[in-house]
């Protein structure tokens, strides 16, 4: 088992023929991911990386039964691409694009809410189920198969956490990069819930950062779920000053309740094993798994 993506996922790449899309689609295929085609409006009928190119997502769904999409479309057109995927019946829409205007994401997030699909991202590294499917931009070799699920707002910090977990002799079921924007599809709580409910996942690593209430919501859900699966948590940005955006558009301390300290306090109160040092994530996972 795994969540969101696996070896049977039929994946298309939106923004397939662009430089980002081409490079990362190539890496995904090399990893063994089941990429069934791509979409670039106006280039339908061509073949790219030995896969068919379609003009619309709907065509890709009809022709190759695509159920998962990864979006590399530039920011100005990315919200439209998300809505097109949702409209065409794609079930899992993973958006890598960084820098989408907030107003566009308000519309896209509202649009996907009423449809039978799940949005991951934007501004995220994607989702990986080791040995099955890499639907993202992460370095695949870091993620060895195992029993630990990872949820994270950040890209490289996810790789760091996975690397630490693997060095403890453990591995990963699925790692979900949820993204660092103010508006994202799948929330921390939803991603944690997916992993807690996954029978193969025995522990979850939850990596958050300053800004917003997502980690607090996830912690409160975890407490009320009564789950006995351990969660190891880390929040980046304890040293970040208030009112400044730290790289990720959503990483900004707005008040007293979205600082790293406040989030860690709630997480601890909800039974999450919080580490203060980002160097101790892997060790703590090994410890809680005994």
């Amino acid at each position: 088992m795994s969540v969101l993506v696996n070896k049977d996922s039929k994946i298309i790449v939106q923004g397939f023929t662009g430089s980002e899309g081409t490079f990362h689609a190539g890496q995904m295929i090399e990893y063994g991911t089941n990429v069934v085609g791509g979409v670039t409006p106006g280039k339908g009928g061509q073949t790219h990386l030995d896969k068919p190119v379609f003009n619309t997502v709907k065509e890709a769904v009809d022709a190759v039964a695509a159920d998962t999409s990864i979006i590399f479309v530039p920011p100005a057109f990315a919200a439209d691409a998300i809505m097109e995927a949702a409209d065409a019946g794609i079930k899992v829409i993973i958006t890598i694009t960084e820098g989408i205007p907030v107003a566009d994401m308000i519309k896209a997030s509202d649009y996907v809410k009423d449809r039978d699909c799940r949005l991951v991202g934007p501004n995220c590294p994607g989702v990986i189920t080791p040995d099955e499917a890499k639907v993202g931009i992460m370095p695949g070799f870091v993620f060895k198969k195992g029993k630990v699920g990872i949820v994270s707002k950040s890209g490289t910090l996810t790789y760091e956490a996975a690397d630490q977990v693997v060095k403890q002799g453990l591995g990963i079921t699925t790692a979900i990069g949820i993204g660092g924007d103010p508006i994202i599809g799948t929330t921390t709580k939803e991603a944690v819930e997916l992993l807690i409910n996954d029978p193969e996942t025995e522990a979850v690593v939850m990596i958050g950062e300053i800004g917003g209430q997502l980690e607090a919501d996830a912690a409160n859900w975890y407490k009320s779920s009564g789950s006995s699966k351990p969660i190891v948590g880390f929040i980046a940005g304890e040293t970040a000053p208030a009112g400044r955006t730290m790289g990720h558009a959503g990483a900004i301390v707005g008040g007293s309740d979205d600082t790293a300290q406040a989030k860690k306090k709630i997480m601890r109160a909800c039974g999450i094993h919080v580490v203060d040092s980002p160097a101790e994530i892997g060790k703590k996972v090994a410890e809680v798994l005994g």
Partner: protein
Amino acid sequence: MNLHEYQGKDILSSFGVRIQRGIVAQTADEAVAAAKKLTEETGTGWHVIKAQVHAGGRGKGGGVKLAKNLEEVQSIADQIIGMNLITPQTSAEGKKVHQVLVAEDVYYPGPSETSEFYMSVLLNRATGRNMIMYSTEGGMDIETVAEETPHLIFTEEIDPAVGIMPFQARRVAFNLGLSGAAFKDMTKFVTALYTAYVKSDSSLFEINPVLKTSDDKIMAVDAKVTIDDNALYRHKDYVALRDIREENPIEVEAKEVGLNYVDLDGNVGCMVNGAGLAMATMDLIKQAGGEPANFLDVGGTADAARVETAFKIILKDPNVKAILINIFGGIVRCDRVAQGVIDAYKNMGSVPVPIIVRLQGTNADIAKDLIDNSGLDVLSATEFQEAADKVHEVLA
């Protein structure tokens, strides 16, 4: 992108939001000319001279003053322009004032009492929708109102599919206790304000105070406007509104070369790929006994030119006593980054502070060998904790 009050008011006005009118001035003489012109246009007798800096609480620092005649306009403008304005939102040194807004007096006597409200438009991150937040307690610090009298703060969330509806505008006006002409004007005001927010692609409007004048008009007396940087491509006319004098010069320089840099007060500089890892690295520096001197995300391509630029930017801060480079190589290969560090170091001749390089991920071993055999005074590490320990050592 943050705007000055006068720029924010221009945008509001362009969408039909009534504002306290004013003219911006760079010198005391310009301020007097502006005051004369404003009197002709609006009939105002008195003028308010307002420092234009990107910080709130200007009144508390002496940056907002009433002038009852042209001599006072001259002397007050002369005093404010060039001053270092210190407010609760600036650093201890304050912010240099380059210009003032000469504004009409809107607190004139009339048939009813004036009253002040608070109103902001912003994203509710919990729901992914915009909301209007407003309060009867205008002119006060909204954080204080939230703490002391939270029941006096109201919110109106807007459905993105239909926008602000008339019943919502009426509810705002009712909750603010208005009636008659002022009620009607408030419904227009709040509708126009929300429209302006959406059409200008703003990420924050804060109007404090919104004034009900003694003749029942509703207007914005102040305006804090932040435009969504990611949406600036569709507002070419707003790009020119950026005032880099208000920004940290090192941050401006970093931005020009595409580096995401935030200046901090500490003594250990850092260079990291990825925002989350960069924040985590800052936290680790603190735990190792240092204080982070900056946030710096070098992004996905850490070649020699980029590393060198990043080095130079970090070293502009005289407080930096050590630099920690933390790169998790994924798509970026660590040996490339290591070569970049070595080349940058050699190009610069010498770097005056100890450097700790921690490379992990793709080709980390080759990278460590490159650093260790380079003959340069660079400490290498592969594990995160090891890097922290080395920071601790060099600071001791």
